[in-house]
Symmetry: C2
Subunit: 177 residues, 2 copies
DNA sequence: CCTTTTCGCTACTTAAAGTATCGAAACCTA
DNA sequence: TAGGTTTCGATACTTTAAGTAGCGAAAAGG
């Protein structure tokens, strides 16, 4: 399977040394086959992340429980072998690649943004801010240290974010809407 | 000046298309001269960011004012032409380059971390978490949209972070120390 | 069994990081 | 000013990786 080969190669070699040729070799296919199915390395990684993440488990009845479970879920996913590296790597590539940025935003972020908007009843810009904070924090730690965030800090992130979003209804915060 | 040429080239072409050759051409020097002074493109960018940032202005007497001014300062810096792209780009490169990660952590992050530890009286892991949240959020927005965070969202970031860190003394939060 | 589609392989182009070398220019020092 | 030293510019090179082209073999499906 190409996705499994992608994650294990990224895990073993890091993002930029996980070349398409290496991934293809591990997957037992030819490099050209990869490029027949995905237009670029970035698009492959995004699809691989989509496969690895799956849908958000929006567990819990209260807004606080929903947010807490979502944060812990994405933190755990980022901590999985290869996933954090792949995520941070493709994100980095997107910085100077508008086409990849569009893929990342449309294919990866939007589904989760919409699910969160629906579950939390928050407007788009608030959910985008929520994602910026949560994902940005996790990726910054990953990028700076090479290691995923430890549980204690994920808990701190939950305790930082949840009261801000759950502590008041959106209408109470002028900047929210 | 090489730093000015670096920022303007990154601003014009984006991070990965701001090649060392282009930067050198804009600066009016030879590529080899760049490589005589900096061991890698990443190291050049880090020194360029150090030059662009300068020291943290730790204005304000209260912890809340200190944090608020620091957040708005770094947000404004990230919004300057070329700075955000350069920051996000070098950060991305560091993901799969341990040597660059070390340069980034030691030369760029540590001075600000130490200044904040001193000014806020928070332990290292708390300040690192603070930096993860603030810088991670700003860079995630920059990376996802290609644009720096607007003022309203910077204000939201201040209102998210400051109460968490300033609302109680560190000892009140078991996870902090 | 024949057609159509997919796949593997080899070879190629292009781009960018980083290196080597050499001669010229700038800069001290007397 | 002359001689030595260090720095710089220019050219050319190596290496790595993304992405492409084209061909022949192997499936797949009627």
């Amino acid at each position: 399977m190409v996705f499994a080969a992608t994650l294990s190669t990224v895990h073993e070699f890091g993002y930029s040394r996980a070349t398409v040729e290496r991934i293809a070799a591990v997957a037992g296919v030819a490099k050209t086959t990869i490029y027949r199915r995905w237009p670029s390395k970035g698009a492959l990684i995004v699809d691989c992340l989509l496969d690895a993440f799956g849908p958000v488990p929006l567990a819990g009845t209260s807004r606080a429980e929903l947010m807490s479970s979502a944060i812990r879920w994405i933190a755990a996913k980022v901590g999985e072998a290869g996933v954090g590296d792949a995520f941070a790597g493709v994100f980095s590539d997107a910085v100077s690649d508008p086409a990849l940025r569009d893929i990342l935003s449309t294919r990866l972020q939007d589904p989760y943004r919409l699910a969160l908007q629906d579950a939390l009843g928050e407007p788009e810009n608030r959910v985008l801010f929520f994602i910026d904070v949560v994902v940005g924090t996790l990726l910054h730690r990953m990028g700076m240290t090479g290691e995923p965030m430890v549980d204690a800090d994920v808990t701190a992130l939950v305790e930082l974010v949840v009261p801000y979003f759950a502590g008041a209804t959106p209408a109470d915060r002028p900047r929210g809407g």
